[in-house]
Amino acid sequence: MMISVRVRAFARFRELFGERFEVAVPEPATIRDVVMAVGQSNANGMGELLDSGGRVKSSVIILVNRERVTGTHREDHPVADGDEVAIYPPVAGG
């Protein structure tokens, strides 16, 4: 069964993927499933979201229902139907 997850993208990610949209992912879903679905919506998407090892870039800020998800296993964090996943790529320049 597919579930629908709301996505909020900020800054560079908004530019690439859009500001607010929904993705459909199979249940049971994780952050990784959502990120992969988001990445496929743009030709450059995967390169912006994933590192060279195919994992979600550790620098990317991820929130589920406005709560930050961190740690080495954050990709496995469960996501439910109707949840909001927010993604932001921090910047470095000065």
Partner: protein, 270 residues
């Protein structure tokens, strides 16, 4: 989302007692009252004296540092410590508005200090042409009331964060790229530190930027600095303020202190 409990003002009690140091007009010269006449109605002579008495270390005299320093000097921050090892290059001039064509190859801190002294001779400018490193960062932070991160790399940012935590000095972080920027205020012991907020630096180096982005974020940072120094207003504590210049909007991404943080939590083994 903002918490105001850092902002503790003891001024009303002081100003009510005649003859105390805070008596109106006691500290500011006639020339200073004229210079700051348009902001005195907003921040009061007490606020102006707080700025005058403040020492602020601005790490980075480039894209962010330029607007930060210009406006803090103009506002009357009494002691600015400039830290940047780089020399001015022509490619800096699309955004580093403190520097100009004749400054190319000069140390940025010296170029900046000249402009700031001309802008406001009432303040003290300390120009240090050095890179922030683990050996000097504690000394750079010593004696400062506030640290401003106008740096261009996270290695130095984490060192500044460490020094802020060690000395209990507030730190305002900012960073920019392209049309995008971010800013947050770190109050040691109270808010998420920089390493809680951004534990992993962005991968890769994309140095492209439209100068206005650095101007906007630098001025948000300067405004935050002034509010911290005069102890008024709401601060960007435990939020990452995110600017999207492509569509002209500011968002606030919530931050939380990480109890296991390597810098401010239990993660460092201390």
């Amino acid at each position: 989302m903002f918490q105001d409990d850092y902002i503790v003002s003891t001024l009303p009690a002081c100003t009510e007692i005649p003859g105390m140091i805070w008596e109106k007009g006691l500290m500011l010269s006639k020339r200073e009252r004229e210079r700051y006449s348009r902001q005195l109605p907003l921040i009061g002579e007490e606020g102006q004296e707080r700025l005058h008495d403040a020492s602020v270390c601005v790490a980075g005299a480039g894209g962010l540092g330029s607007p930060v320093l210009l406006y803090l000097a103009a506002a009357g921050v009494g002691h600015l410590r400039l830290v940047d090892p780089d020399r001015v290059e022509r490619s800096n001039l699309n955004r580093q508005v403190l520097h100009a064509e004749p400054d190319i190859s000069r140390f940025k801190v010296e170029s900046a200090a000249d402009k700031l002294r001309a802008l406001n001779p009432e303040i003290t400018i300390e120009a240090l042409p050095v890179a922030v490193n683990s050996g000097n960062v504690s000394g750079l932070a010593a004696g400062m009331d506030l640290l401003l991160d106008a740096l261009d790399n996270y290695e130095a940012r984490y060192l500044l964060n460490r020094a802020a935590l060690d000395r209990g000095i507030p730190l305002v972080h900012a960073a920019v790229n392209g049309f995008f920027g971010q800013m947050t205020t770190i109050v040691p012991g109270e808010t998420a530190c920089l390493q809680c907020a951004l534990p992993h630096p962005p991968e890769g180096v994309d140095a492209s930027i439209i100068g206005v982005t650095a101007g906007i974020i630098g001025l948000l940072q300067a405004l935050e600095a002034i509010k911290i120094l005069i102890r008024e207003g709401e601060l960007a504590k435990n939020v990452l303020v995110v600017w999207d210049g492509r569509c002209g909007r500011l968002d606030q991404i919530p931050l939380v202190r990480d109890p296991a943080c390597m810098a401010c939590g239990a993660g460092d083994g201390s």
